[in-house]
Symmetry: C2
Subunit: 365 residues, 2 copies
């Protein structure tokens, strides 16, 4: 099958680029001799997991119960559910045939987990600067939660999502050190209070790649780097040509007088994410590549999205007048996690227009 | 089953509100004696279609091939695919066991359709002011397309998406008249040139509701009004309490010092749509209601979304300190079409916390 045979819009995943990105992260972490617990929240695919787990212990991170169930059903035995657990979800986790470690940053919830019959292993979520979830490394609450968890406590985890505010490799290295210092401080305080702390988990794609030291850290989590996107390219996680996933789309209308075309990838197919609005180069709703995935159209981008329509504005130096109705283009995503979540599967290519496989993914909750 | 038994995040659809909205539109169109061809791109559910088609001819509008296939498989016989057709999609349409009318605004594509063995019926897309797709009512291209379509021509259609720029009922009535005048002008020009024009189709939820005349129009399309959303409430399509769909979510973290909670409805569950950024009252990523769907939390809204996390900022006058981990809230969507597209099904309620049914929907392309 060829790319031209696929109905549009759909996802195209270039295995060469994926493998390159996987190797880049593995090399970065090998320097520190720290294992990767890949975050599968972006890819949500067992086929991607198999590639990223080569040479790793086989443990993964997920963001939803549906992912935990899916990966367990495909043989993954060690899963970290990295979003705050609730009483109801604790019951659901107990039914999954794998070791599912949960997280909390709440003393009352810790008491519920400690008393729950499932005895799910738990990491305490620590805030090392993102201020989304987590307790401060130096807080009394950290120790209260540990006491309430009792024998279910396994360790601590943090996510330096504030690394996304950085713009240079030096920024990322500095944030990584803040993340490492915070999480190891939390671990040490728990140990000083008499708790056993086996797991000290940190991670985000930028800090995992650019950390100068991971001393005291037992595992690193990262996910978006596998596919990459325009935002991550702007914050130095990878280069512009290291984006493994694109949305294949068809021209459905032409406005040559405005150097515009209308395509069938709209707000659902691309997502409405506008992450690059915050970085120097704003790609609106995505960067437009030709049907082969090459950047031959200059600065063409999707400037407007409706539910099922996208408006592509051509670069004045690269007129879109050669395009006819039905011609294909590919769109590099602004924020890949949100874009791929709009689709049920990946069409796999290997640098050519041959579709060599179809990989499923799990959506929903 | 009760709402508290549902895993979160998920969609809750209140049948009472849905039926109210359906009745409101039916009454508005009955004044003009013009039938509704409901646009199912928002609901994408045969159960919703059955309710909205009561008292109507049974024809619908869709936005994707997947919708056309799904509704045909559920017995709908007359379907308008209201997004520009391509050669590849024309082949796919030919395989669907229903009459699928397609649209085009392109003279070359019209020639391809005219020569295609499927002989799918066609409406010419006319631009009455939105400037997304369509040919101008007075253009030469309109007549060229009609000639190229030959015997496949059935009529003309337009969508006054620019009604969304209006803010008052008077604005919507004025836009509706522009839409009506444009599409009937196009129809008359085709008739004057000797073409038979059976279908003169227009519509958007605001203009369908507020049109003062539909003289010369043979059918009206509208979709988002069935569910409603915060944006439509702001542009006078309906009231704030007429939003039929909410996202049920669970508290997964607490920041009482900031009057904030973290919930499990993030950018995937809610979508990243920010339609209300353009209207007087901006609801960020959604308005927060209590577990019963009532507005007892003042101006609480989802101010930030991560992939699977939403940050709710409480109203200073309505502190969120009563909320515990696992407590439920409901979020009224900013743009319902994008939000419901993130989910596979609707959990149906009827004004109480009893879940009385589950309705499926079709996603993808």
């Amino acid at each position: 099958m060829k790319l031209t045979d696929l109905p549009t819009p759909c996802l195209v995943l270039d295995q060469r680029v994926l493998d390159h990105n996987i190797a880049m992260m593995a090399t970065a972490l090998a320097r520190h001799n720290v294992p990767l617990r890949p975050h599968m929240k972006t890819a949500k695919s067992i086929d991607v997991a198999h590639r990223v787990l080569q040479g790793q212990p086989g443990a993964i991170t997920v963001s939803t119960i549906a992912e935990a169930r899916y990966f367990a059903s495909h043989g993954i035995k060690d899963i970290l559910l990295a979003a705050g657990i609730t009483p109801h979800k604790l019951d659901l986790v107990a039914q999954i045939p794998a070791t599912v470690t949960v997280i909390t940053d709440d003393a009352d919830m810790a008491a519920i987990i400690g008393a729950h019959q499932a005895k799910a292993p738990v990491l305490i979520e620590v805030d090392t600067g993102e201020h989304r979830g987590g307790v401060a490394p130096g807080s009394d609450t950290l120790l209260t939660i540990a006491r309430n968890l009792g024998s279910t406590l396994r360790g601590v985890m943090t996510h330096a999502g504030h690394s996304y505010a950085g713009r240079t490799i030096a920024d990322m290295a500095a944030t990584a050190e803040t993340e490492r210092a915070g999480i190891t401080t939390a671990a040490q305080r728990l140990r000083d209070a008499g708790h056993r702390v086996d797991v000290v988990s940190m991670g985000s794609s930028p800090t995992a790649l650019h950390a100068q030291s991971l001393q005291g850290v037992t595992e690193v989590r990262a996910g978006v780097y596998m596919f990459g996107d325009l935002f991550q390219a702007e914050i130095c996680t990878h280069g512009l040509t290291d984006i493994a996933v694109t949305v294949l789309t068809s021209v459905i209308g032409r406005r040559p007088d405005q150097n515009r075309v209308l395509v069938d990838a709209g707000g659902i197919a691309l997502s409405k994410d506008r992450s690059t609005a915050a970085v120097p180069k704003d790609y609106a709703f995505g960067r437009v590549l030709d049907a082969n995935g090459n950047a031959t159209l200059g600065d063409a981008m999707v400037i407007t999205t409706y539910q099922e329509h996208g408006v592509i504005q051509g670069d004045p130096a690269f007129p879109l007048t050669h395009l006819k109705i039905g011609d294909r283009l590919r769109i590099a995503p602004n924020h890949t996690c949100l874009t791929v979540a709009q689709h049920e599967k990946y069409h796999i290519v290997n640098g050519t227009d041959d579709v060599i496989a179809e990989w499923g993914r799990v959506n929903g909750w």
